[in-house]
Amino acid sequence: MKLLNCSDMAPLASKALDERLALRERWMLAVHLVMCRFCQRYSRQLRFLREVIRLTNGERLADATTHTLSPEARRQITQRLINLG
């Protein structure tokens, strides 16, 4: 069996957060992680990202962007609310 290097293993470790890997993939990932301190850290960083967002119920994620309603949308919504009376 071909041994994974770090660039093979990184996408797999990410996918493992999202769905159950095939047995073979899980095995290759586990073998690599035992040997590779950097990939262990990388894996923990991905879990850290997930965890820190969960801890804030995702509220921080929406606040993490700076989108604002366009002036046209603002005018249109205001107008329609006024029309409703």
């Binding site: 660039s7 990388y42 960083q45 804030t56 994620l61 962007t65 366009s70």
Partner: protein, 195 residues
């Protein structure tokens, strides 16, 4: 009938009601649909529905929570109603992973030790302001897919439809790239600095 304060503030002036919550609702919608026009439409639908239901709003939750609740339904409706976005066959170039590995597949910039307590950062304003800058730098579809996964916890097939890619494999690739870009950015701008 006596009106509550909440009803009074809403009813008095649509423009200031929009000022109070409009942008926050819009950001919430953008995070979930990734498209300006659709997000603005959903905010409008939310306000119109809220306006018509305002007599039933008894102030048991905050005005914001009430509006966000309505918006969530509007987002769910639009996902059921609208056809999936046309699927792109390939990923866009700005969605490419950075050059993180050398020619032998080893980390160019070895990941650092972030410790084991995300809880220590969850309430840290400085951390979130760095996070925001990193998150905003992500290409649109990467940001959208990441939010759908990590905030809403949607499955691969649903994310595939919302972001408009051909296969769930594309979804895993997009999520992978989003995570790499975010973690690398946080590493450089937050964790690498002495604190």
């Amino acid at each position: 009938m006596e009106r509550t304060d909440h009803e009074l503030t809403q009813a008095s002036d649509p423009a200031s009601w929009l000022d109070r919550h409009g942008d926050a609702l819009f950001r919430f919608a953008m995070l979930r649909v990734g498209d300006r026009n659709l997000a603005e439409e959903l905010v409008q639908e939310t306000y119109l529905a809220a306006w018509q239901a305002k007599d039933r709003y008894a102030g048991q939750s905050s005005e914001r929570t009430w509006l966000v609740g309505i918006l969530k339904h509007k987002v769910a409706d639009s996902r059921r109603r609208d056809r999936a976005r046309p699927a792109a066959d390939s990923l866009e170039s700005d969605e490419d992973a950075d050059d993180l590995f050398d020619e032998r597949g080893r980390w160019k910039y070895p990941p650092g030790d972030w410790g084991d307590s995300p809880a220590a950062f969850a309430e840290n304003q400085e951390f979130w302001s760095v996070f925001s800058r990193c998150f905003e730098q992500l290409p649109g579809r990467l940001r959208l897919a990441f939010a759908l996964k990590e905030d809403e916890g949607l499955d691969g097939e649903t994310i595939r439809k919302v972001v408009g890619v051909a296969t769930t494999n594309h979804v895993w690739v997009i999520l992978y790239r989003a995570r790499q870009a975010l973690r690398r950015c946080l590493e450089v701008h937050w964790f690498a600095e002495d604190r």
